[in-house]
Every structure is written in structure tokens, then in C-alpha cells.
């Protein structure tokens, strides 16, 4: 029984720390860290030479491969290449903590100087990374770090989105699309996942604080993306007069889009997070999608790689580095793609823009 109480208390603390943003309106790190702009991470020419001479190696241990991870991965690969660090292994845990543990053990056979990773399950990830920590490998994380790990001693840094900024920018984009007033549907990620929770919360908080003429009249939690279509369908059926719908990320937003199309609804606007080609195409063609808020995912990869490389030559980093985000609309889509993913906008969208 006592253990149960302790656990609940622990959980409450975690909630408390992640809820801080709502009060002061900034992203905080998973352990309450203050954010520092990613641009602050720089290396001098001397340091770069020292790194290049070190013949270092790195391994990338991802939680799952997605468009987002891919962009981060590309950023890290490019930066490591620039610094003469060989990437010796790359893994995908498929959201499975047990597999991520196996992946860490496996890449250690190559004795990498650096492991860059996004922990599947931060609360219990200490066990996953302990073999690397013991081996003296430099650990640098994306989005979150294992509970109990100490910055500067056990890991180099955490690099993440400016999560509050993303939710905030989504709210601003929504207000812009609706002329600062209207009824909004809010589809949030119903899971204990720090990244989506902060973004969703920031959207809701911004609407509540800054836009008195906009109301969230319908809320729906989505635990399983595969069921997003039903959730969207239900929300639209019950509230046909919604002016806008916020969706926690782009893939479920496509389900909302298809539901709206199915209902012949051209009036309700969608704002969502992350770049996604079909959603962007709808936006460019003047459909329901009004804005896509994107993080500079590629830049996360560059930053985490650079910070990790710096640590090899004794340069320390701030505990929680955040990259900027941007609201991509019809007018800024080409630029947004470049900034976020370091890629040219897909041909279909480029054609539609002409």
C-alpha cells in the first residue's frame, strides 16, 4: 500500500512539473528545465578540428522511424558527417522499450563515442541506457531523458521542439483563420506523452487566455490514431457548426479532413501540427486545412549532434535546448518545408502552387 502511495505521489509530481507551462507560457523540459535556444550551441574552428582529428563514432538509437524522426536523423547524420564523425549504427525500436534496450546493447558492440537517442519510455529508460552510461559513451537525447539521469554527468543535453510555442502558434494560426472568433473542436492526444500533452495544452491555454471570442465547444481524446476517423466523424456529426478543429498531429488530421469532405463541409477549418503532404496539398488548394505548425526537426538533429560532438572535446551544453517552430500556411509552404525538414517541397504541392 505504501508503495502505491509513493507511486501516485511520484506521478503527481510529474504532472505538476509538466503543467508548469500553463502558468507561465513557456516550454519546460521534462524535468522542469528552462529552455535555451538551439542556436546557442556553437563550435569554434579549433574545436571542430579537434573533433575531426578524434576519429569519433556515433550511433543513432531511435524510438520509431517517422517523417519527424527521419528529419532529425538526417540533421544528425549531416552534422556528424561535417564533423568527421562516422555513424556506425542506426536502430528503430518500433515503440518497444524492450527492443530499445536490445538496440543499445547491440550498438555498444561497436564502441561508439556517442549515442543519440529518443527514449521510448523515459520513466523507465535508465535500465535501457545504463550499459552505455557504464561504458562511458556520451549520451545525447531528443525530446526526453531517462528518469534519474543527471545532466552534465549522465547525459549531454536534451534537444526538443519548443512545444509551448508550437501549441501557441497553432492557436494563433487558428485565430487568424477564423478572424478571432468562432466555435472550435479540440482533438487531443489522450496518452501520457509529454510532447503531445504540452503542445495540446498550450493550444488550449492560448485560446482560453488570449481569444475571448473563441470557444472550445467540443473536446475528444484520441488514444489510438487508428480510431481517429471515428472520433472525427462523431465530433462533426454532433457539432456540424464548428468553425475550426484543432488536431493533435497531422495523420489523424487527415481523418478529420476526410470526414469533413464526406459531409460536404467546406466551412470548418483545420489546424494541426507537423508537415504532411496530403494535408499541405489540401491547404494549397484552398481546402479545409488552414495551417500546419511545424518544428524545425532537421535542426533538432543538427543541434543534438553538435552538442554531443562538443562534449567529446570538453564543451558542455545547456540541459534543455529547443528549436523554433513555424506556422506554415498556403503562402509559406515552400519555405516551411525547407526550414523544417531541410527538403524541397514535394512535387505535387509545388505543382498545385503554380
Amino acid at each position: 500500500m505504501r508503495k502505491e502511495v509513493t507511486r501516485l505521489a511520484l506521478l503527481a509530481t510529474m504532472w505538476a512539473t509538466t503543467s508548469v507551462y500553463a502558468a507561465d507560457g513557456v516550454t519546460t523540459g521534462p524535468h522542469g528545465e528552462k529552455p535555451t535556444p538551439a542556436a546557442s550551441v556553437t563550435l569554434t574552428a579549433a574545436e571542430e578540428t579537434q573533433i575531426k582529428d578524434g576519429k569519433f563514432t556515433a550511433a543513432l538509437v531511435w524510438h520509431e522511424m517517422s517523417e519527424y524522426t527521419n528529419a532529425v536523423n538526417n540533421g544528425a547524420q549531416d552534422e556528424f558527417k561535417r564533423l568527421g564523425i562516422e555513424v556506425v549504427a542506426q536502430t528503430d525500436a518500433g515503440f518497444d522499450a524492450a527492443r530499445q534496450k536490445a538496440d543499445v546493447e547491440t550498438v555498444l558492440a561497436k564502441n561508439p563515442s556517442i549515442i543519440v537517442s529518443l527514449p521510448v519510455d523515459p520513466a523507465t529508460a535508465a535500465v535501457v541506457y545504463d550499459p552505455a552510461r557504464t561504458a562511458g559513451t556520451k549520451l545525447a537525447f531528443v525530446d526526453n531523458s531517462p528518469a534519474g539521469y543527471v545532466h552534465g554527468k549522465d547525459y549531454v543535453t536534451i534537444v526538443s521542439d519548443d512545444l509551448f510555442q508550437m501549441g501557441n502558434k497553432a492557436a494563433i494560426a487558428m485565430a487568424h483563420a477564423l478572424g478571432n472568433k468562432g466555435k472550435i473542436g479540440y482533438i487531443y492526444h489522450d496518452a501520457d506523452f509529454y510532447v503531445t500533452n504540452q503542445r495540446d495544452g498550450a493550444f488550449k491555454a492560448t485560446i482560453g487566455q488570449d481569444y475571448p471570442d473563441m470557444q472550445i465547444v467540443a473536446e475528444a481524446g484520441m488514444a489510438d490514431p487508428a480510431r481517429s476517423e471515428e472520433i472525427a466523424q462523431g465530433m462533426i456529426t454532433q457539432n456540424p457548426d464548428l468553425d475550426g478543429i484543432y488536431v493533435t498531429w497531422a495523420e489523424p488530421a487527415l481523418s478529420v479532413l476526410s470526414s469533413l469532405r464526406g459531409a460536404g463541409n467546406t466551412h470548418t477549418k483545420i489546424v494541426t501540427l507537423d508537415l504532411n503532404e496530403p494535408a499541405a496539398l489540401d491547404m494549397v488548394k484552398g481546402g479545409n486545412v488552414a495551417a500546419l505548425v511545424a518544428d524545425e526537426a532537421y535542426n533538432i538533429g543538427v543541434t543534438v549532434a553538435r552538442a554531443a560532438a562538443g562534449s567529446l572535446v570538453g564543451k558542455s551544453s545547456q540541459p534543455f535546448l529547443v528549436v523554433d517552430s513555424l506556422a506554415v500556411t498556403k503562402d509559406t509552404v515552400a519555405d516551411g518545408w525547407k526550414k523544417s525538414l531541410n527538403k524541397d517541397v514535394p512535387a505535387t504541392i509545388a505543382d498545385a502552387l503554380k
Binding site: 507511486r7 536502430t91 518497444d96 522499450a97 524492450a98 536490445a102 546493447e105 547491440t106 520513466a123 535500465v127
Partner: protein
């Protein structure tokens, strides 16, 4: 009934070749992949004791699930629910252990697995529903149960005795996960090959009517194999919980296909009547070695998946082609 003419023609030579190939595909495959990695990755840590023992440790839960699946598939059934049974068992063990201690936790974990097996088994054996559909349904059902049990949270497992016994500990200098694998394989092999029960499982999978008229209780065999599979998936859940010192609803989700592939590559027929526990062990180690080696080769994640898929396809194609005629 097969016609006498086709059965009689060209028998002796084909017979000998077929038996050899189909039984040893997995061993040749294992050896070939091992040699390939040993040569290609000779300077990359593949051949270190630590890396090789990692492979065995990492595949321990999958190997134990595979043993259960050999029994199920040999009886002509399938158990897809193992993918979510692992998580339910691990979570049941973790939650119970934190409140009521070690023994209760272990019993809860194994009990959860056996209960899933009992449900599957009762529906297949007595309600006479196809196991594919029953376990497909319970796969989803218990995935839902494990998600709702803890609101998607992961539950830490702090009992040091448990994590030592089922996870990171060692006995006589040998890691406990290797003990578990060895014991499960040894007992599984003995029951499968040397007992009347094992013979009856094969008979039911081979020709359930013949087994029935020979006095074998076909429903009882079907129930039992599904309970064995559930119980072993429960044990796999305990091993995961011990190794990760935590339980989460995602445990085991990605194992199902690996385990099925390991069992089939290991020489167990999808339709029943023939199989091998040792083959499943080697099949499972082969899968683990493949994951390990492809990562160490420095391939991108997509390339790893493509190569792994092609190799599994080739192995399954060779072993299945030899078995059908």
C-alpha cells in the same frame, strides 16, 4: 485418400533428400548467417562474447514464446494472442508485486497468461471456433486490457529479487535469462518429443479425426496447447519485466511476427503434425542474430528491414517448399 500411383512413384530418393533438407534448413541458415556476419563484421565486435551473449539474452522472451507456439502449431492451431498476453502478464505481475510482494506478483503474471490461454482454449476446443479468429480477437482484446489497466503508463518494478531472478541476475556465472531459456527448451523438448502428450499433440494436428477415433481427446489437447502457449507468454512477460525493471503495454507487441517466423523457419508446419522445439530455438536465435548483425553492419533502418524481410522470406520459402508436395 491419396491415389496409390502418385504415392508409389519415385519414392526412395526423394524421401531421403526431403527429410534431410526440411529438418536442417534452420541449422544451415543459422550457420550461413553466422559465418557471413563473422567474416563481414570481424572487426566490429560481432564475435565478442559479450555481443553473442547479448543475442541470447535479447531473444530469451521470444524463444520462450516460440516454444509455446510450437505446441500450438503442431496441434494444427495458431495463437496470435501471445503478442498482447506478454504485456498483460508483465503488467499484472508489476502491479501485484508492488502491492503484495514478489510471490504474488509472479503468480499473477503467470496466472494472467494461463487465463488468456484458458479462454482461447475453451473457445477453440469446446465452442469449436477457429483458433485464428479466436486469438486474433483476444490479441486485440488483451491489447486493450493492458492499455486500460494502467492508463498507458509504465509500471516500475523495483523488487531486486525479481529483477535478478527474471532479468539481470546470474546463477553460477550464467545470466538468469540463459537459464530460463535453457530450462524451457529442455523441458519443452522432452514433453514434445518423449511423452504421450507430445505424441497426441502431433496426432491431433496431423489428423484430428484419426486421433479422435484412436481414443485421444482432441478438445483436451487443443485446450492444453493453448494454455501452454498462454503460460509461456506469461513467463516471457515476467522476463521482460525483469529485464526492463518495468512493465508497459507495448511489451511483446512487435514479437508476434518474429516468433511465428522463428517457429516456421525452425521446421514446424503451419498446419500441424510436425515441428521442433530445438528448431524454434535456433530459429529464434537466428532472428536475433539477424537484427544484431544488420545493425552492426551500419545499415539504415529501412535497409535493415528490407534485408531482414528478404532473408526470412528465403528461409521460409526453402523450409515450406520442401514440406509440401
Amino acid at each position: 485418400m491419396p491415389s496409390a500411383n502418385t504415392a508409389a512413384s519415385g519414392r526412395p530418393n526423394g524421401f531421403a533428400n526431403r527429410i534431410n533438407l526440411q529438418q536442417y534448413v534452420v541449422y544451415f541458415g543459422f550457420l550461413a548467417i553466422f559465418l557471413f556476419f563473422a567474416i563481414v563484421l570481424r572487426d566490429s565486435g560481432f564475435l565478442t562474447v559479450r555481443n553473442l551473449s547479448n543475442i541470447v539474452l535479447q531473444t530469451a522472451p521470444a524463444t520462450i514464446m516460440a516454444i509455446g507456439l510450437v505446441f500450438v502449431m503442431s496441434a494444427g492451431e495458431i495463437d496470435l494472442s501471445i503478442g498482447s498476453t506478454v504485456a498483460v502478464s508483465a503488467l499484472a505481475a508489476a502491479v501485484t508485486m508492488n502491492d503484495y510482494g514478489l510471490v504474488a506478483g509472479v503468480l499473477a503474471g503467470l496466472g494472467a497468461g494461463l487465463l488468456v490461454g484458458l479462454l482461447n482454449g475453451a473457445l477453440v476446443a469446446y465452442v469449436k471456433l477457429p483458433s485464428f479468429l479466436v486469438t486474433l480477437a483476444t490479441l486485440g482484446l488483451f491489447a486493450g486490457v493492458s492499455r486500460s489497466m494502467t492508463d498507458l503508463r509504465s509500471i516500475p518494478v523495483t523488487n531486486g529479487t525479481f529483477t535478478g531472478f527474471f532479468g539481470s541476475g546470474a546463477f553460477l556465472g550464467i545470466p538468469s535469462l540463459i537459464w530460463w531459456t535453457a530450462i524451457a527448451v529442455a523441458i519443452g523438448h522432452l514433453i514434445y518429443r518423449e511423452t504421450r502428450f507430445g505424441a497426441h499433440v502431433l496426432a491431433v494436428g496431423d489428423n484430428s479425426r484419426a486421433a479422435g477415433v484412436s481414443g485421444i481427446s482432441v478438445p483436451r489437447i487443443r485446450l492444453t496447447v493453448l494454455m501452454i502457449s498462454g503460460g509461456l507468454a506469461g513467463l516471457a512477460g515476467l522476463l521482460y519485466a525483469g529485464r526492463l525493471q518495468a512493465a508497459k503495454y507495448t511489451l511483446g507487441e512487435t514479437d508476434l511476427m518474429t516468433v511465428i517466423a522463428a517457429v516456421i523457419v525452425g521446421g514446424t508446419l503451419l498446419n500441424g503434425g510436425k515441428g521442433s522445439i530445438i528448431g524454434a530455438l535456433v530459429g529464434s536465435l537466428m532472428m536475433g542474430m539477424l537484427n544484431n548483425g544488420l545493425i552492426l553492419m551500419g545499415l539504415s533502418v529501412s535497409d535493415q528491414m528490407i534485408v531482414r524481410g528478404l532473408i526470412i522470406l528465403a528461409a521460409v520459402a526453402v523450409s515450406l517448399r520442401e514440406k509440401s508436395r
